[in-house]
Symmetry: C2
Subunit: 257 residues, 2 copies
């Protein structure tokens, strides 16, 4: 059932990725979700859209974006479509992923899920309403290269050392971006390890690129590498590796005790 | 000069710790700061208190704290003072550290600092005003054992997977707590590495203990270990190691380019 919802969402938004989870990220395809949820209410008894309006994509340009942020965004948006030999538009190698302020709010309805879906909860990276105050970011994925890049602008509420971004905020973005890629490639996964080397302090307000790529997949383990650089890639801020393990969605819900 | 300010602050607040920096944490003793700042305005030209009121300590109990949070807090508070043989109060092995929403706001005035101190910036872990919505935490340090423990209650805006805490929020608290201990032991330091193993997903709203201890100090490197457990310590959520390198404060400010 959730698979059906996900498929319908997919018609609106393309392949639906719920990124930025604990921990846990879902590639909401019916294959994964149908196998994960055994006991759910019939589709006819629940609304497909728990909220009246179409969900807001928080990774759209807004007035808080600096010219550098907009330039990097435009660069990757341009790579999302290419002209073929006949001058026709075709799908480019990159794809922009949408980003919401809830992880699975728009695919609710399962009785397993209902007790975990609290209306007042918000996804950590999208929880502050003031535009530009915390995390402004957009993720582009390259399916063929099994990689993704995130354009990230840090806001005034992410301060650590005076004038610089908190190491935890950088870790949060690394978890989000590497987890998005792992979920895209491997389905439902949970963060098992993050190993982060901080090479240079990042000035608050910086726009950076977070490059993530698949290292390898070994059975249930998905290994991702990550580098955070300036937008011209001349300066390295952070390097990281991340390990994710594939789970069933039921694993997460069963863990609550 | 900053050392003088720090000393005066110390008279009010005990030893002043600025925790939760990038990156970078300062143990604001005059020894460190006097050696780090060469060019500063004379003490007479700047106010000792840039703001009129005494800074608010965000690690005091408030109405958002659950009974479990309050119980853990009371447990460690009770260990901060002990009765000696004569029935007199003496300093206990543990000490509660204050926590502010700016890292160095209360020791401003240096011309090196002034351009980095932006009034609208806020420390990442204390940047949301709504009590209980994000990070509620208090850090206790044990000088003799070279360890500290943080009581942490996660709020509704820290969600990752539905009903669970975002891995980045957990990383943020680990960076904050291990960095506080490293700064307490080694003076100004910068996070060089965080290596985090996520063992179990953490339900949103949980109260957990973040235990940090010194592993070893090798020249400029301070190695810290960390475990995140339930308050009864029966459940392990996360394990981590952290490496910090000692820096001069000027190193940070020189890094801006």
């Amino acid at each position: 059932m959730l698979g059906q919802i996900a498929r319908r969402l997919g018609q609106l938004h393309g392949q639906q990725i719920c990124n930025g989870l604990n921990g846990v990220r879902f590639k909401e395809t019916h294959r994964h979700l149908q196998s994960s949820f055994k006991t759910v209410r019939p589709i006819s008894t629940i609304p497909l859209w728990p909220f009246s309006s179409r969900p807001r994509d928080f990774s759209q340009p807004n007035s808080s974006w600096s010219p550098e942020m907009r330039k990097a965004y435009d660069h990757y948006i341009a790579l999302c479509d290419t002209d073929n030999e006949n001058g026709e538009k075709t799908k480019g190698p990159w794809r922009k992923l949408p980003s919401y302020n809830r992880s699975i709010k728009y695919a609710t309805g399962g009785i397993h899920l209902s007790k975990f879906i609290q209306a007042e909860n918000r996804l950590f990276t999208r929880s502050v309403k003031e535009q530009g105050a915390t995390f402004e970011y957009v993720v582009f994925v390259n399916k063929e290269e099994k990689s993704c890049v995130c354009v990230f602008q840090s806001g005034r509420l992410l301060e650590g050392a005076p004038g610089h971004v908190h190491g935890g905020a950088i870790a949060t973005m690394i978890d989000t971006v590497t987890g998005t890629l792992a979920g895209y490639l491997s389905g439902p996964i949970m963060t098992a390890n993050l190993n982060i080397d901080y090479r240079n302090p990042m000035p608050l307000g910086s726009v950076v690129l977070i490059h993530s790529a698949l290292d390898r997949i070994e059975r249930r383990k998905t290994f991702i590498t990550c580098k955070v650089t300036s937008t011209d890639e001349s300066k390295l801020y952070t390097e990281a590796t991340a390990l994710f393990v594939s789970i069933s969605v039921g694993h997460l819900f069963g863990s609550r005790n």
